[in-house]
């Protein structure tokens, strides 16, 4: 079976700075591929290449087996790749229904009289959100009044509704509490079950391990590891993610200073 | 841009106007006097620095006069302006640094100009003040002052209004805080036997000028004269009067082509001119006389170029001159 999206030995340079080098990633329908890495590991560069904001400089990038080079987010959307960004997924001051259809608004009428199909937009927004288990009494409220988790969900529901085949999620749980994170991961799993290929970017191995099928670890722009779920246990993933031997060193230092043990993994931002 | 050009060319072939425009102007053969030097004195450089804001047609006429005299006297004439006093004085300083042979300055805000005028004196550059500063000119050490006393001009307006039997006048100030403007209105108030009110308008915003005068005339039906302080505002006042359905007569300070036309067709009552062309011409010519012959005019008193009250009977002759930018 051909991967929906496949990156092989992809590199990206900003001038003389190496942002990404030799990174490979496969995304299959109905699977979640997790990309793990600390800040500055190259996760956002990877997203930008997949979502069409930047182009790769070396390696191959295929969409359903076809070599691709995306010129804009619009082009990526047209090829079925939807990206949901951590903090800029939505426009806070706009009503939920306007956000839901932003960039792909349905219209009635022709030429200069083409107007928004407001009724359809409102009703679809409400019913699509309901399908994902969010019951909004008022789709006219500014989306900024929703909680962070709900905003992520609206963005995911939007991508699913517009027929995305691949969903790229940038740190969807980073700014959220434990409970909200759980809700979002539920929707991520729901999107997978709907047959989408999901790329989940995170620095939280616990969240990744809960839903992921494959794991790619990035470190300073290079690939530090690539595993299928069956090949790796959570502990090992956490250890690799947290920096392996560096973490042991840190733990050693901290224990000598008689401070509580480093809790590992989870950070709240 | 090429589309614009094409549109201009295409349309200008197809859509000519048989009336008015540049062609009509060219056909009016009347031209300013010729520009050949009549003397063989060395080519001195005279600089003029005024407090004019950008785009004031009054100062165009002053410059035209100065240039005419410069052509005749074999002078290189340079001009600079800035409405802000501090920057105006900097401009004067830069001409002193450039060692010009003579300076012409306006003293709209005398205190700010005092030091640079003294510096010019010290550098041996003769200074003539024009337009504003009649009170300070002599004390600052200038040779002569050429201009109009704004209070005297205002009084002339008041007297003309009396002559016309006016009862209630409106003085329209288009620049709040301009001392000369206040003097004009106050002068008129002093000699006018009726009641005179002031109205401040936003001079750079014509529709605002119009609607403000309109409002005032609607608010007070007893107003029978409107006096604008600048020529461009007189036709606007006429529009405001028509719109407000008022019977007031519109009069103005200063002159331009539209005012001359208005005087002739009767939409304007009278204009008080201070002959800006003469201010520029005389300033350059007097500097030349001083350099050539150490002549000084005025005997320590200002040389007045106004006020000159212009009415319908004078307007016909002046219309040609206003069109070529010398009145």
């Amino acid at each position: 079976m051909t991967a929906l999206v496949e990156l092989t030995d992809v590199s990206k340079y900003y001038g003389s700075i190496r942002a990404l080098e030799g990174v490979s990633l496969e995304v299959h329908a109905g699977e979640i591929s997790c990309v793990l890495g600390d800040n500055g590991a190259g996760k956002s560069t990877l997203i930008k290449i997949i979502s069409g904001l930047h182009q790769h400089d070396a390696g191959s990038f295929t969409i359903e087996g076809e070599e691709a080079r995306l010129g804009s987010p619009r082009e990526a959307l047209d090829r079925g790749i939807a990206t949901v960004y951590q903090d800029l997924a939505v426009v806070p001051l706009m009503p939920v229904w306007r956000n839901f259809f932003l960039g792909s608004e349905p219209t009635k009428g022709r030429g200069p009289f083409a107007r928004l199909d407001v009724r359809t937009m409102r009703e679809t927004t409400r019913s699509e959100l309901l399908r994902m288990g969010i019951d909004l009494r008022d789709v006219d409220q500014p989306i900024g009044t929703l909680s962070g988790g709900e905003r992520q969900c609206v963005a995911i529901a939007r991508a699913v509704y517009f027929g995305a085949k691949v969903l790229v999620l940038d740190e969807p749980t980073a700014a959220l509490g434990v409970k909200q994170s759980g809700v979002v991961l539920k929707y991520v799993a729901a999107a997978r079950d709907a047959g989408l290929g999901v790329v989940l970017i995170t620095h939280n191995p616990h969240h990744a391990y809960l839903v992921g099928d494959r794991f790619v670890l990035l470190k300073r722009g290079t690939m530090a590891g690539s595993h299928a779920k069956s090949e790796i246990a959570l502990d090992e993933l956490t250890r690799q993610m947290a920096g392996g031997s560096e973490l042991e060193q840190l733990s050693h230092e901290l224990s000598r200073a008689a401070t509580p043990e480093f809790p590992g993994g989870h950070r709240s931002d | 841009m090429s589309a614009v050009l094409a549109a201009v060319l295409g349309a200008s072939l197809a859509g000519c106007s048989s009336t008015g425009g540049k062609r009509a102007e060219d056909e009016r053969a009347a031209k300013a006097a010729g520009g050949r030097a009549a003397v063989d004195t060395p080519r001195w450089t005279f600089a003029m620095v005024t407090h004019s804001g950008a785009g004031d047609s009054f100062w165009d006429i002053v410059q035209n006069g100065a240039k005419q005299a410069a052509a005749k006297d074999n002078i290189k004439f340079v001009y600079a302006n800035d409405e802000e006093a501090a920057r105006q004085s900097q401009l004067v300083q830069s001409y002193i640094d450039a060692k010009v042979d003579g300076l012409i300055v306006t003293l709209a805000k005398p205190d700010a100009m005092k030091d640079v005028v003294a510096k010019a004196e010290k550098a041996g550059i003769p200074v003539i003040t024009v337009n504003s500063g009649s009170a300070e000119s002599k004390a600052f050490g200038a040779l002569s002052h050429i201009g109009q006393d704004e209070t005297v001009a205002g009084e002339a307006v008041g007297e003309e209004l009396n002559r016309r039997g006016r009862k209630k006048a409106l003085c329209v100030l288009h620049e709040q805080g301009n001392v000369g403007h206040e003097q004009r209105c106050d002068g008129a108030k002093k000699s006018f036997k009726g009641e005179l009110q002031k109205l401040y308008v936003e001079g750079t915003n014509m529709p605002d000028v119009q609607s403000s005068i309109e409002s005032k005339l609607q608010a007070d039906g007893a107003i029978d004269s409107v006096v604008t302080l600048g020529a461009p505002f007189a036709p606007t006042a006429v529009k405001a009067k028509e719109q407000a359905g008022s019977k007031a007569e519109i009069d103005t300070f200063d002159l331009n082509a539209q005012v001359a036309a208005g005087l002739q067709d009767g939409s304007l009552g009278f204009a008080v001119d201070q002959q800006p062309y003469l201010q520029g011409y005389q300033a350059v010519d007097l500097l030349w006389l001083y350099k050539y012959n150490s002549d000084v005019l005025g005997g320590g008193k200002p040389v007045l170029t106004g006020p000159q009250v212009i009415t319908k009977k004078d307007a016909a002759a002046l219309q040609e001159y206003t069109k070529r930018g010398t009145r």
């Binding site: 001051l93 932003l102 409102r122 789709v139 009044t145 929703l146 | 614009v4 106007s17 950008a54 004031d56």
Partner: protein
Amino acid sequence: MSSTAVPSPAPSGPPAGGAADDGLVRRSPVRRLMGRPELGSVVGAIAVFVFFSVVAEPFLRASSLSTVLYASSTIGIMAVPVALLMIGGEFDLSAGVMVVSSALVSSMVSYQLTANTWVGVGVSLLVTLAIGFFNGFLLTRTKLPSFLITLGTFFMLTGLNLGFTKLISGTVSTKSIADMEGFDSARALFASRLTLGGVDIQITILWWIVLVAVATWILLRTRVGNWIFAVGGGADASRAVGVPVVKTKIGLYMGVAFAAWVSGQHLLFSYDAIQSGDGVGNEFLYIIAAAVGGCLMTGGYGSAIGAAVGAFIFGMTSKGIVYAQWNPDWYKFFLGAMLLLATLLNAWIRKRAEAKA
């Protein structure tokens, strides 16, 4: 001012009730009204209107209202596209002088080529739209703040206005084109008066109403309107979902340019000749009108109707002071104080509305 007007996008609101109630999707009409951005300005306008009706006897006459509406329309024609631009997250400081540039181009093209005045009007439209395009293009290309870009074009246009006028006409104002062919028909479109029930109505008022209607339609009922809100409220998020951010912003600047063209032609055909130094400072009146009308200074929120009401408040205040015959020395103070009060009232009403909504 802007900070008090933000409709609280804090993620703390009471959303997503667990239990589905009876499927009531829409808010009640009252609550919907309370949520409108122009609500505060309408209340402010009513307050100013009542105030001057009481203190200035001639204010309520039909002819006076026509004058007030004219004054409002000359600001309002520009305030509407400026409001759209502000909703789109940008400013245009060149808007005031652009009006004069447009008038100068029209006048000088007609005069110098001795062409039908409609030729000048057409060329002026193209040139003015090109200036708007230039503003938007430079902004999206350089990614510098619009405040700086348009401050640059403001100075450039001010210089070009004077420089070209002196170069071509020899003086600082253009020559009258009132005796040229096509002048009367152009005047009919841009600067005529209609008599309605014995009252003179300036045609700019009609232009104003039409522009408000078109702008409101675009803003609330078209895809472009959705994009305008989006690029102002979150340019990155909009780009990520495929909104053509660059085109939208350039389009907004060209919208301002179009209105500048209409205003410029009005100046030209009502005053025959144009002073090249005019227009400076008016750009702030447009921004004030839009802000008084509920447009957020930071973008993403506002309305065209609000901007029109803001312009009306300005028109009523500036003329109302004259009708009231207050001491003219204090004119600017009264003007500023009234505007400030109207704006404060606006912000206060909106805050209360949001607390309830």
